[in-house]
Symmetry: C2
Subunit: 390 residues, 2 copies
């Protein structure tokens, strides 16, 4: 059931260990689900209980640690040997007395790693403050370091096989946004349109089945378009309102996000002008993208492209994407914004989404791209424009 050759996982572990060495980390405890999947293949919706992967410089393969009932899931979805799958008893789950990190600490002690420099992901969801407290209490001789984003940074440049997966996600993305545009009509319930979108996401193409997105279909209507993260209700679409869809195609947890704005009726002046400025600005920004330019230079290009207009954009215009699990398809590593000096390399992948939210209305359009040897290529082919349905 592995998505990649074992060799690719081994290569990822090697790169992770190299970063650990550079940062003076001997043992790394990973709880971010995408990082767990990236290093071992582990794939289960079990991240609502504490679990993780231990990587140690002095051991070839990582150790999976999780709840008893999920151990068979680890056996099925990872390449790990049985002896490297460690499951805790069910009375550790949501207990007032026991905590799964005590079990993790026991493994670390058994392996003789309890005097080492241990890093944890200090600002990743799924690693709570209590996790840290329990580890620190149980391992008084360890030296703790922050391993936040360490594996995320390894994920930044994709392998060719990962790019292939993201292009498949892109093929699915086209079907997903088309399903959305086809379904959003006056008198249709928002939930019925969202149902069609979700169905298209999971069905995928005839050749490649889809996966669940790290962010559910976002659907903003009317005044709701003034903000980006709302979902559907059972209200019906009205005439003369905007509908923003922020969606994604997903293949084996790899994402190709796609967002478009639909106007049901004749778009008002502000909407039309904003759409013109943003699409032109996005196209100019894209034309500038190639290896060697930095993330902040790209954002500056965008800023320059819209400087003649009254459109103001205060938030970042994009971020690194790839493999992910809820709650976010962004990788948290690199953002297209002032101060981010990361220089683009081939096979980095980005979601560029210069969303504009006014007080009563908003506009979103985007591109999901891969950096190539000389420039960029889109992960899918879909017109960058305001969709008008009269």
């Amino acid at each position: 059931m592995l998505s990649f050759d074992i060799q690719e996982y081994k290569e990822r572990i090697k790169k992770t260990k190299k970063r650990m060495e550079t940062e003076g980390i001997e043992v790394l405890f990973i709880s971010q689900p995408a990082n767990m999947n990236y290093l071992t293949g582990y794939d289960g919706w079990s991240f609502y209980v504490h679990q993780g992967i231990i990587v140690s410089l002095d051991k070839e393969d990582p150790i999976w640690v999780g709840r008893g009932m999920d151990a068979n899931g680890a056996r099925i979805t990872t390449f790990l040997k049985d002896e490297d799958i460690k499951a805790y008893a069910d009375d550790y789950v949501q207990s007032k007395v026991k905590h799964p990190m005590q079990f993790v600490a026991d493994i670390i002690k058994t392996k003789g790693w309890d005097k080492k420099t241990i890093a944890v992901e200090m600002d990743q969801f799924y690693f709570t403050h209590r996790c840290y407290v329990e580890l620190e209490k149980a391992l008084p001789q360890a030296k703790f370091k922050d391993g936040n984003l360490l594996v995320n940074m390894v994920r930044l440049v994709k392998s060719d096989k990962e790019i292939e997966f993201m292009k498949r996600a892109g093929e699915i993305a086209v079907k997903v946004i088309q399903a959305g545009i086809d379904s959003v009509n006056i008198g249709v319930r928002e939930c019925d349109a969202a149902a069609n979108i979700s169905s298209a996401q999971i069905k995928g193409t005839e050749k490649y089945g889809g996966d669940y997105p790290a962010i559910v279909p976002l659907m903003m209507t009317g005044e709701g378009t003034s903000t980006p993260h709302l979902t559907w209700s059972d209200r019906k679409f009205q005439g003369n309102e905007a509908v923003i869809l922020e969606l994604s195609g997903v293949y084996k947890h790899y994402h190709a996000p796609v967002a478009r704005t639909i106007y049901l009726g004749h778009p008002p002046k502000l909407m039309k002008e904003t759409a013109d400025i943003v699409t032109e600005g996005l196209n100019k920004t894209l034309a500038f993208i190639k290896p060697g330019v930095s993330c902040e230079e790209i954002e500056a290009k965008w800023r320059e492209a819209i400087s003649h207009s009254s459109v103001v954009k205060e938030s970042r215009i994009g971020y690194s994407i790839g493999l992910n699990y809820p709650p976010d398809w962004g990788e948290q590593t690199v953002s297209l914004r002032p101060g981010d000096k990361m220089v683009l390399e081939p096979n980095m992948t980005f979601h560029i989404i210069p969303g504009i939210w006014y007080e009563k209305i908003g506009f979103e359009v985007d591109a999901s791209i891969r950096i190539t040897e000389n420039g960029y290529e889109s992960l899918y082919d879909f017109p960058i424009e305001l969709v008008v349905k009269n």
Copy 2:
């Protein structure tokens, strides 16, 4: 856009403050999305960045804190006054320098609460270790306490309106499991069946639109039934294999989970026997449930009911359910297992799911129930049995 009368939110806040007083907490910072929604109505998929609700004993309404672009979402979905919606600038997002908890601390200082006893949710996802570190650093005179599960405990007993929502979720659950059973057939791709299930979840009934579940459709096939938390692939269903579906109906984030096992062909002896023992055991357990009995007594009843058989069940057989967001529809408060002495009261709601996972095969069947004045009622009506499709 509020799901409940403002009065109901005010009542919840009152109960929360009462618990805070009892536990010696003056200020409570809440980041768990369901707790945020429960107290204010806030509803957005924005929990992939740091955000929260501050409840203070000396202030009537809570304060919403989040990212700039989500402030309009707070204005639209909560009952809060504009002055109680505090948004941080975008350069706090996933920054190496700034952290949103510094902004939270600034609000606490401005309000003069920085010398008070402040509680945070120490073991809830979405409150990372770094969150704690930043708050502690910025508020050196505050006394920190653990407010984990404080609001979750307030959520334990549902209002009549909440029960109404859960029954609507139950109506949707019947459509969802039926869509699953209808779609799982030899030669059909798993993803196509999952697409139909997800569509049924979101579509809901004609009267009540569905919502996204806190756990995506879980689908285990063949050997995968030996573990509970896998999802679909684009493989086709085979003859003579088991398929476990663990799903939920959802209405405005309130859940009615439903799990059934399908056998495609003539079930082998182990499957048939396990199904008989578990369904009989579940029915006997349900018959025992009424206000006044404790959670551990219910589990003991289950254990007694299956004691004549070879079936062994090591994990908890159920837990409290209700309002929730990914990654979990369980409330993390109360479990049906040894040692949990919580005594049942009317309008508590539970998911009872005595899943059995052997080395190569598994069986799941469940019930989602509300405790009534004299016993219990199911949130939906669907036969408790192994589904055989020949």
